[in-house]
């Protein structure tokens, strides 16, 4: 796996859930490589947050953007070169707060990219404020009495926005998690995985997850109703219910990139057409 590592020192806290994500991604990329996928076809992106550092650690093409804005850049990258595999690593603050609308529109367009949400339910790199998915009992230095609003369920949002692959994963269920990632990346269309990435420093939910996480078995992942039901069976504000992990939904639908035609980079053609256009304006 080492050839996929860069020389960047890893800056996560010992025990951080991000390590698990990094290592599974490396494994999957290596598998892809062995299966003949040229590594230069992989492009990864991130916003800003602890999660985002991951792009520094993987030695493939990357664009380390700004807080909340990886997704639209990823969309254009896909449009620019439909043959690439585009993977966005986003945070819950980054993707569900600052950049939420981009996520919704990418889903609506069904652009063929994969968004992996390191959902640690805290603004970790910003030292632990609550995010849209923090549990109700979460206390932050900026919210000494807890948040003044309840969380939302991002996967429900993704569902109604038009995402065509929706999953939740828990890195500690290593094999299961890896399988989800693999499917998400292979899915043609917009895929999103909400990853229960534990931030041990600000919101250590290992215990909670280890108790409640259950691998989901859905017979038919193309059934919207069933998918929604499963997605809704656990809510982020902090119900006692089991937390389903697995693929909730999958669908085939025309992608954004399918609407676009290929570039014509021949400047002579260009010149000719422009002159024709100018002629029409005389």
């Amino acid at each position: 796996m080492s050839e996929l590592k860069t020389y960047a020192p890893i800056e996560w806290c010992p025990g951080c859930g991000n390590f698990g994500i990094l290592s599974e991604i490396e494994t999957i990329l290596m598998e892809m490589k062995e299966a003949g996928e040229p590594m230069e076809n992989i492009i990864i992106l991130s916003g800003v947050g602890n999660h985002a550092k991951i792009v520094d650690y993987i030695n493939v093409n990357s664009f380390y953007t700004i807080h909340g804005r990886a997704v639209p850049a990823a969309e254009a990258i896909k449009l620019a070169k439909p043959g690439t595999k585009v993977i966005c690593f986003v945070g819950d603050g980054d993707g569900f707060a600052e950049g939420l609308s981009h996520l919704i529109f990418a889903a609506k367009r069904n652009v063929d990219i994969t968004v992996l949400v390191h959902d640690n339910r805290a603004y970790a790199l910003a030292t632990g404020q609550f995010t849209p998915t923090s549990q109700s009992s979460y206390i932050a230095s900026t919210m000494p009495e807890g948040a003044k609003e309840v969380s939302f369920n991002p996967l429900e949002l993704m569902m109604v926005s038009g995402a065509t692959f929706i999953a939740r994963g828990y890195p500690l269920r290593k094999e299961h998690f890896k399988k989800i990632l693999r499917e998400a990346i292979n899915h043609k269309g917009f895929s999103v995985v909400d990853i229960l990435q534990v931030c041990i420093t600000f919101n250590n939910l290992y215990k909670d997850y280890n108790e409640k996480v259950e691998e989901l078995i859905l017979k038919d992942t193309t059934n919207r109703k069933e998918a929604l039901k499963a997605i809704r069976s656990w809510d982020y504000s902090g119900t006692k219910a089991p937390i389903p992990v697995g693929v909730f939904y999958q669908e085939a639908r025309k992608g954004f990139e399918d609407y676009y035609s290929t570039f014509n980079e021949n400047q002579e053609d260009r010149e000719k057409i422009l002159n024709q256009i100018l002629d029409t304006l005389i």
Partner: protein
């Protein structure tokens, strides 16, 4: 007559703009240079709008308040224009809605009913206008056959009726200007970008640059480009950067409000060294202000937007040819230097129409930036003499391209090392110096005429300054490039100038301040900041007040 200035005025949303262009084409067919300005409120139908179409044997890009002929579609057209009409102005009016004492009166409703040409009010008026000017009917037919194909017969019928029922009073002599396209500033910018190899245009609709989106969208397939309209201006610029990262030349088109939303990503472009072209169409602010009116208030804003320090190329075209030429330069240099480049335009320029003569400008073509030679390991941010790291784009066999908004090492990995941080800032300004050096080969500061008194201008004020200067026998100094500041060129341009009169459509005299910062001095400011462009008369009047 061998010049004319025609106003068409009436209700917004009923074809005045299109009628103006049509009149422009007719006059173009007569062998004239055309300029058209469009003054309209921020609403779709109703309200008061007017266009002024001027024809001249000279190149023009300005309007006069006083018009030779007024086509008045309603009473507002008279009421709003008391000061624009003189004894010599010929009035052609819609008798159904206008009370007037003299002029060509057309009972439009009745006539259109008679002719069975409903909705063709403006054609009737144009017919009357054509006859007033003594345009040969064949000219009308020729232009209509090319540009008015839908409903052609009906249109010609209505036009013919106006033509027949009018007498020639201001015959326009046939001119000698060759047949040229009549295009808007927006279209000129689009053409320039396309000639320099634009691959993708990303935008969110906003006056005054939406016409760029429209133009590009119209020919998207044909040209083999991408036109993308995402959910917000933030998405717009991030998408544009996504394209750049992949080696696809991208541009965005917006105005102040939309650009405000792009400011954070502009900084990302700078830090990650992703080329980006921003067409920034100024309009009257602050905030929503007067969205369909003009301004030159955002020079300082584009010069300094986003946190941190980085160079940017800013060019401000003054007419259609400059629009095309400098937009191409902007795109080429953005890629060569991997920096943000601005085409700083405004409502007057974007929505004005000009006779476009591509032969008057140097040939525009796509310039290739420094590309990676393929040796060894690719380093996206490799140090170099001139600060420019050779470009390569994914997918690149066995290589990795890492772009980032953090301070980074040469490979593109985050670092917080103070020496690298300093070095990376130096790299940015090194590129600026090389760019400034290269731009010495371009006419970044133009001068026209001679004399000890000069008008200083930028952007859309070029046209009005040229005409004013001619009338008052002054020199004109036009700054086409505003950043990097063309010190040397300006110095040369100001040679022999005793009094420098700065003409701007803003309240602060922003160009004047920029000059001061760079060790120059303007002597007088002639400023206008009411959303309206200077007319020639107005500028003459104001300049006369301050001239030594």
């Amino acid at each position: 007559m061998n010049t004319t200035s025609i106003m068409i005025a009436g209700q917004t949303g009923y074809g005045i703009h299109e009628a103006g262009i049509l009149v422009g084409r007719l006059l173009g067919e007569m062998g004239y240079n055309i300029y058209m300005m469009d003054d309209y409120p921020s609403l779709i139908r109703g309200g008061y709008q007017f266009v002024i179409i001027r024809a001249s044997q000279e190149k023009i890009a300005a309007h006069y308040d006083q018009v030779d002929i007024l086509l008045a579609m309603n009473q507002d057209a008279i009421n709003h224009n008391k000061n624009k009409i003189n004894e010599k102005t010929i009035l052609i009016y819609n008798a159904d809605k206008v009370n007037a004492e003299k002029g060509v009166s057309l009972s439009i409703n009745e006539i259109l009913k008679e002719e069975e040409t409903p909705g063709k009010e403006l054609y009737l008026m144009i017919g009357a206008l054509a006859k007033t000017l003594d345009l040969p009917w064949i000219v009308i037919e020729k232009v209509f056959e090319k540009h008015e194909k839908d409903d052609l017969k009906i249109k010609l019928k209505a036009t013919a009726r106006g033509y027949k029922s009018t007498k020639t009073s201001e015959p326009l002599t046939k001119g000698t200007v060759k047949k040229l396209p009549l295009i808007s500033g927006s279209q000129a910018i689009s053409i320039g970008l396309l000639k320099a190899g634009l691959n993708a245009l990303v935008g969110y609709p906003m006056t005054p640059t939406s016409p760029i989106l429209e133009f590009m969208a119209k020919y998207e397939k044909e040209l083999g480009i991408h036109v993308v309209l995402p959910e917000s201006e933030i998405a717009v610029i991030m998408m544009a950067l996504g394209y750049s990262y992949m080696g696809k030349r991208s541009a965005v088109a917006t105005s102040g409000g939309g650009f405000s939303l792009m400011v954070e990503s502009l900084g990302l472009a700078a830090q990650s060294e992703l080329p980006i072209v921003i067409v920034m169409g100024q309009r009257a602010g602050p905030s929503t202000g007067m969205p369909t009116y003009t301004a030159q208030t955002d020079l300082n804003f584009v010069l300094h937007s986003s946190q941190g320090e980085f160079p940017r190329l800013i060019v401000a075209p003054g007419d259609a040819e400059e629009g095309a030429y400098w937009s191409a330069v902007a795109l080429n240099k953005a890629w060569k230097y991997q920096i943000p480049a601005f085409i700083l335009t405004d409502k007057t320029h974007c929505l004005g129409y000009f006779t476009y003569d591509e032969e008057t400008i140097p040939k525009i073509s796509k310039e290739e930036p420094a590309l990676w030679d393929g040796n060894g390991e690719y380093m996206r941010y490799k140090n170099s003499e001139d600060g420019i790291s050779p470009l390569a784009f994914p997918p690149l066999k066995d290589q990795v391209v890492k772009a980032t908004g953090y301070v980074h090492d040469q490979f593109g990995i985050t670092t917080e090392n103070p020496d690298i941080a300093k070095e990376i800032s130096n790299k940015r300004f090194k590129k600026e110096r090389f760019l400034a050096e290269e731009m010495k080969n371009y006419e970044t500061v133009k001068t026209y005429g001679t004399g000890k008194t000069a008008l200083l201008c930028w952007g859309s004020n070029k046209g009005v300054c040229l005409e004013t200067a001619k009338l008052l026998d002054l020199k004109v100094v036009q700054m086409v490039m505003l950043s990097p500041f063309p010190k040397e060129a300006l110095n040369k341009a100001l040679d022999g100038v005793d009094q420098l009169i700065n003409v701007e459509c803003n309240a602060e005299g922003q160009l004047g301040i920029l000059l001061k910062q760079n060790g120059f001095r303007v002597d007088e400011n002639v400023l206008k900041y009411d959303g309206r462009a200077f007319s020639v008369e107005k500028l003459v009047e104001e300049v006369k007040k301050v001239i030594k």
